[in-house]
């Protein structure tokens, strides 16, 4: 077995890919239903849920069962962490963007890619701060809070808070998502995940 295969299995990447496939099929099914296809506003929940599923899988894949041994590696981890995060984010963005055909200027592929980038950034930062196994939780809480509060009239224009609910080309929403991705990703690449097993 090659070292790449060992690394991939150590991070449960086959399971992550299976989660991506499930999220893609679910998104494709939901996005191509007649009522959702005709009315792009109906896609808004999907543009929150699909990135949540994909980035939860990415976050859990960052977990290291043998973290104490991994930390004695001569191999520089930052390159692997960077490649790991970029490859999975790109794959999730590609698959899920293709699963939302049409309406790219409203709630379609562009907004999906943006939300995946932003959610990945939050999840990566959470993996550093609370550990990889629970890294999906802050993203879920944030997306859930935005989704529930979005109907309040004064919040509809608060792009910094509701970036994940904005139409695709909204520049400010992209700026927030990209900032989250760059900051969260850089933090993870530089520091790695929080140590989860306390020594006795």
């Amino acid at each position: 077995m090659t070292s790449f295969a060992l690394y991939a299995r150590s991070r449960a990447l086959p399971t992550t890919l299976a989660a991506f496939a499930a999220a893609t099929l679910f998104t494709l099914w939901a996005a191509t239903r007649p009522e959702t296809y005709v009315d792009p506003q109906r896609r808004i929940p999907l543009l929150a849920l699909a990135p949540l599923l994909a980035t939860s899988a990415i976050g859990v894949s960052l977990h290291q069962y043998a973290q104490e041994l991994d930390r004695t590696a001569a191999r520089p981890w930052w390159r692997l962490r960077l490649a790991h995060l970029l490859a999975l984010t790109a794959l999730a963005a590609l698959l899920l963007a293709m699963a939302v055909p049409g309406h790219s200027q409203e709630f379609g592929a562009v907004a999906m890619v943006r939300n995946i980038l932003g959610a990945t950034g939050i999840t990566a930062a959470a993996a550093v701060l609370v550990g990889a196994r629970l890294s999906w939780l802050p993203t879920l809480l944030y997306f859930g809070a935005v989704f529930l509060s979005y109907s309040a009239p004064h919040l509809r224009t608060a792009t910094v808070w509701t970036w994940s609910m904005q139409p695709g080309p909204q520049r400010a929403a992209w700026a927030v998502a990209m900032t989250a991705f760059v900051v969260g990703g850089a933090l993870y690449v530089a520091v790695g995940t929080r140590r989860e097993r306390e020594r006795s």
């Binding site: 299995r9 069962y65 104490e68 041994l69 991994d70 020594r199």
Partner: protein, 267 residues
């Protein structure tokens, strides 16, 4: 500190001076000076004495709060020295964790990859390491199907796969049955002929049987350093119902250190 006959440790693979480690408000190590060369060195001490903190600093997984640590003559603050040191050390943590779907062979090969061992020599090195701990017949078994003692032996196998010049073992005999412990001590003596082996344990009999040198740590300080024989000599006059001579010597050295710390020795 009580110091008896100082064993010969050869050229020091490990040199530690003024090492201090603090975890929030607790001081795990307090200005420790130590050096270790070729041989088997036992770290003894009660729970919470600072043994694991010392091992983790030497394994490069924890950063000291203060002091200086040199491995193989190089200061670990330099990235190149750190990387070189990591290639040359083996480490068995108390709780090493393993990837649930991995076989013994895969897990040991994974650690070889972490150590940047050449791909062409890895398969033979993995088989050799697994055979050394007596698991050759289980090399393709999933680790999760093994008993606790066998998992511990997998941990030892991964620690020796790169033929380390510095081997750090934290409670290596935990979970091993008496026969396995005897075999393990024999392996330790064999490894200690060419490498620096540091074994943290609270089992005095392991130290007495396998170590060339014993360092007793208590409350983050070195309480005693000497040979197992000199430690046993401290307990020669005790009550036999209080354990064997090494155990009595351990207790006597601890008491002497505590008395010294509280100023009782000056009275």
């Amino acid at each position: 500190m009580t110091t008896m006959t100082r064993p010969t440790t050869g050229t020091g693979a490990v040199q530690v001076s003024g090492l201090t480690v603090r975890h929030r408000r607790t001081t795990a190590l307090d200005g420790v000076d130590l050096d270790f060369g070729t041989g088997v060195h036992g770290l003894l001490g009660p729970n919470g004495a600072g043994k694991t903190s010392l091992i983790r600093v030497l394994a490069t997984v924890a950063r000291p709060t203060g002091g200086r640590v040199e491995l193989f003559g190089g200061d670990l603050t330099a990235p190149r020295t750190l990387r070189d040191a990591r290639r040359r050390l083996g480490y068995l943590p108390q709780d090493f964790g393993y990837y649930p779907g991995f076989t013994v062979r895969e897990f040991v090969a994974y650690v070889a990859w972490l150590k940047e061992m050449p791909a062409d020599t890895t398969p033979a090195a993995v088989e050799r390491a697994v055979a050394r701990v007596g698991l050759a017949d289980r090399i393709d078994a999933k680790i999760r199907t093994l008993s606790g003692g066998m998992v511990r032996r997998v941990g030892i196998a991964q620690a020796v796969v790169n033929a380390p010049q510095l081997l750090l073992l934290d409670e290596p005999t935990a979970g091993l049955d008496p026969e396995q412990r005897v075999e393990f001590r024999s392996l330790l003596r064999e490894l200690g002929e060419e490498a620096t082996v540091i074994v943290s344990t609270h089992l005095v009999e392991d130290v007495a049987a396998a170590c060339t040198d014993v360092t007793l740590i208590e409350r983050g300080r070195v309480a005693y350093r000497g040979t197992p024989q000199s430690l046993a000599a401290l307990g020669r006059d005790g009550d036999e119902s209080d354990g064997n001579t090494t155990e009595r010597g351990y207790t006597a050295a601890l008491r002497a250190h505590r008395t010294h710390l509280t100023g009782g020795g000056q009275a």
